[in-house]
Symmetry: C2
């Protein structure tokens, strides 16, 4: 097996460090130490911490199994449930300690880091569009009311999920996840 | 008019500074400077920055017009709308630059500040209970389906609001607020 490049080692480890501590909760030194690379090598690969965080956000989103939204042979609402179940299993596996990187970076960085803000805007839009596409399929399949605006409903759901994850960091139990699933699938999408 | 005490001057100004910059985005010195009080006076009044932030959170929540949820002579869903409209007018008045202090502190502090986490838990619970009480009234008045669990629905809505506010800091337009109002009042609470 080829050795991962230094850049790859740094970037993939940073996803973890930034997810655990947030952007303001760790320094470049914390990140290089956790990755086991020399601190001096950082600026050979990234312009600054924001640049690395943008790379980490992309990797994080790529691992969020948005593909489950498009899985063939699965009914639309089932696909939506599978996607959010995957995300909630992740949250549980971290003992509710970590939230969602999107929400965390949004809270920490949207104000002062325009490049990150633009990246967040783009990632949220891609995610919302995926959910909207499932909702459209659900309407076509007669699973939900065809009068709903799928784009608006999708954005609402993605935001509601982010809010539930915020609450999770406070309550530290499945409550906010259960509230999300129950309300989404038993009330809203009925 | 009596002069506000130094403590009061510091505490009321801190709500603003902490709301604008977040807990990690401003120092004790930034806070005392903005309040126009000597930095050295800080520790006469507060144990540490967390202590002051907890005080600020309480003041912030007291100003959130939760009383609109209980206004006499107003139909239940109208009260709910009035409360969230008050909050959204505030967000708009700050040009979408500031989010909600609850969500911000949750993202920044829930992990490492157990006293703040407990305070956030309590404030979110009080707020959710207020919303649940309105939803119960709405059920009694025949405005919404009596089979919904008002407590669960209330927690979901409060979290969905927090998520919308997070998204607002990225999109910087009314979109996430409109998604919240449309979905909540035209789809969910129908």
């Amino acid at each position: 097996m080829a050795r991962p490049s230094l850049r790859e080692k740094l970037a993939s480890s940073a996803v973890n460090t930034l997810h655990e501590h947030g952007f303001k909760g760790c320094s470049i030194q914390d990140i290089t130490e956790a990755a086991g690379v020399p601190k001096g090598s950082f600026f050979n690969h990234f312009e600054n911490k924001e640049d690395l965080a943008i790379d980490a956000l992309r990797r994080y989103f790529e691992s969020a199994r948005a593909d489950l939204l498009f899985q063939e042979g699965v009914a639309p609402l089932e696909r939506l449930k599978n996607h959010f179940s995957y995300l909630s299993d992740l949250l549980v596996s971290f003992g509710f300690e970590r939230g969602c990187m999107l929400g965390r970076f949004a809270a920490e960085m949207a104000q002062d880091y325009p490049r990150m803000r633009e990246e967040l805007r783009s990632v949220f839009e891609t995610w919302s569009n995926g959910v909207a596409s499932v909702l459209r399929d659900a309407q076509a399949a007669g699973e939900i009311d065809p009068r709903h605006d799928p784009v608006q409903l999708a954005r609402f759901l993605v935001n509601a999920w982010e809010g539930a994850v915020i609450r999770l960091k406070i309550d530290r139990d499945r409550g906010p996840i259960d509230d999300f699933f129950q309300t989404t699938f038993k009330v809203l999408l009925k």
